[in-house]
Symmetry: C2
Subunit: 284 residues, 2 copies
């Protein structure tokens, strides 16, 4: 079990890794190692008091009881391959990646039975990159998803649950990798693709002065981290393409109602969307 005295390594001090370091230090964890290739990120984290030690050398994880990789998916898998030799016996490994099927098996295969990997997804992303945008306050309204497999121990799940609680996440849940990736495909990846497509379909920047809340709401997430998302889309492409097809078919159906001037058909669609959306307000 991880305690406040355990040694925790955070790999990658970006916006999310920085927020983890911030949240864990604020929660009283005493030994937080930050690993990053950018000395400025380490200097910043130290200055804020978020880490007790910082280095660009991954070998430093050799004393860690828990290592959390805050890296993009492919970088994460490669980092594990390159640095597993430093993992101490009994170490717990976790991550923050936004897709799960594509990483869990690959990472578990890289590890022997002395190290356990427990996949997690803190749903607290934002469009800005880098530790200067780290803000653990965002965890207060965010979901933390633990994605255990048959190989995971109940102890690892409880450890991550306790850690997420200490970091202040609003809701902590467990999902299978398939459930997680399906959910993320519809609720997050599809919405980002829609926002990007709406922004790109036509250059309407000259209309900005006329924009009301609706267009702003729908395109807010069109400001997006261009280095991370394409990789996430590709790693979840089966579900995402399925969801895009279903959404496009629904749009086509609505278009036919407009073309046919089928007022009553549209009315029924709007009544349904209104009723469904109301469920989401209840859960808010």
């Amino acid at each position: 079990m991880i305690t406040k005295q355990s040694s925790i390594g955070i790999i990658g001090l970006g916006v999310l890794g920085g927020s983890y370091a911030q949240a864990l230090s604020a929660a009283g964890y005493r030994s937080i190692l930050g690993v990053d290739i950018d000395p400025n990120s380490i200097a910043w984290a130290k200055q804020q008091g978020w880490i007790t030690e910082g280095t660009a050398d991954s070998a430093a994880v050799q004393n860690c009881d828990l290592v959390i990789c805050c890296l993009y998916p492919e970088v994460f898998v490669n980092w594990v391959r390159d640095n597993r030799k430093y993992f101490k016996k009994g170490m717990l490994l976790s991550d923050v990646t936004g897709v799960k099927r594509a990483v869990i098996d690959r990472v578990q295969e890289l590890l022997d039975e002395t190290v356990e990997f427990i996949a997690c997804h803190p749903m607290a992303g934002r469009e800005s990159k880098g530790i200067h945008y780290a803000d653990a306050n965002r965890f207060k309204n965010a979901n933390f998803i633990i994605v255990p497999t048959a190989s995971n121990s109940a102890d690892a799940v409880e450890t991550m649950r306790a850690l997420a609680q200490d970091m202040g996440f609003k809701r902590i849940s467990c999902l299978s990798a398939e459930e997680h990736d399906r959910m993320i495909s519809y609720l997050s990846q599809l919405t980002h693709v829609i926002a990007v497509a709406l922004m790109n379909a036509d250059d309407n920047t000259h209309l900005a002065e006329f924009t009301g809340d609706s267009f702003r709401d729908l395109t807010r997430i069109a400001r997006i981290n261009e280095d991370m998302w394409p990789e996430l889309f590709v790693l979840n492409k089966d579900y995402l393409i399925q969801d895009m097809d279903v959404f496009i078919a629904e749009l086509q159906e609505f278009k036919e109602l407009i073309a046919a001037e089928d007022i009553e058909g549209m009315r029924q669609k709007l009544i349904q969307s209104t009723a469904r959306r109301a469920q989401f307000d209840k859960e808010a």
Copy 2:
């Protein structure tokens, strides 16, 4: 010219008509007639001090210097046909409808040269219906569009501009009917269609607990007035169907990039959407 002493008639005391009455009475207009078939709406408006007189009888507009119809498009055109006989010489007529090409010519044809119609669109809609949801505070962040034609006088434009200023609108602009309808198609109608389609494409209400900001942002306007929007979609269907086709084509293109695992192609799309969206934040 309309002054604070002029007699103003508001036809339809719904959420928008009610807000007009509220804003105009607050701005010091002394004579505001409210016409509505629902006696409860009239009673409410009177109780709030928003109107000085209320009736279900449209003949009461005979003393009005300015009449503003706060009705759905078809109801509006029919109301003008049925009640133009009561219009006094020199009366100014205005409206609030969300589409313009479909109403302006038809209304102007119904009027002789003694009455001028000046089309306006206060972009301050909301999903709720009825005077109890009226709230003139919403005008503070809203655009007011005046849509003059060649038949309109400069005086009528200035009158509506002054009125919109008195009601507290943030920005007042003039557009042609075509410009207005194109703008509304993309910025408002297309966004509502997308939100409705996203909500209807799949029943994901069981996922509500996992929903982050992005899905909530994109579907907020899926709670929608089912009586008004289908009519607006139909009355602007040429532009709207065009815009839906462009949007769907952009989605298809993005889908092909995902299928081809074209990371660099997606990166360019995301860079473009980020840059464009930044323009909208600047204008906010």
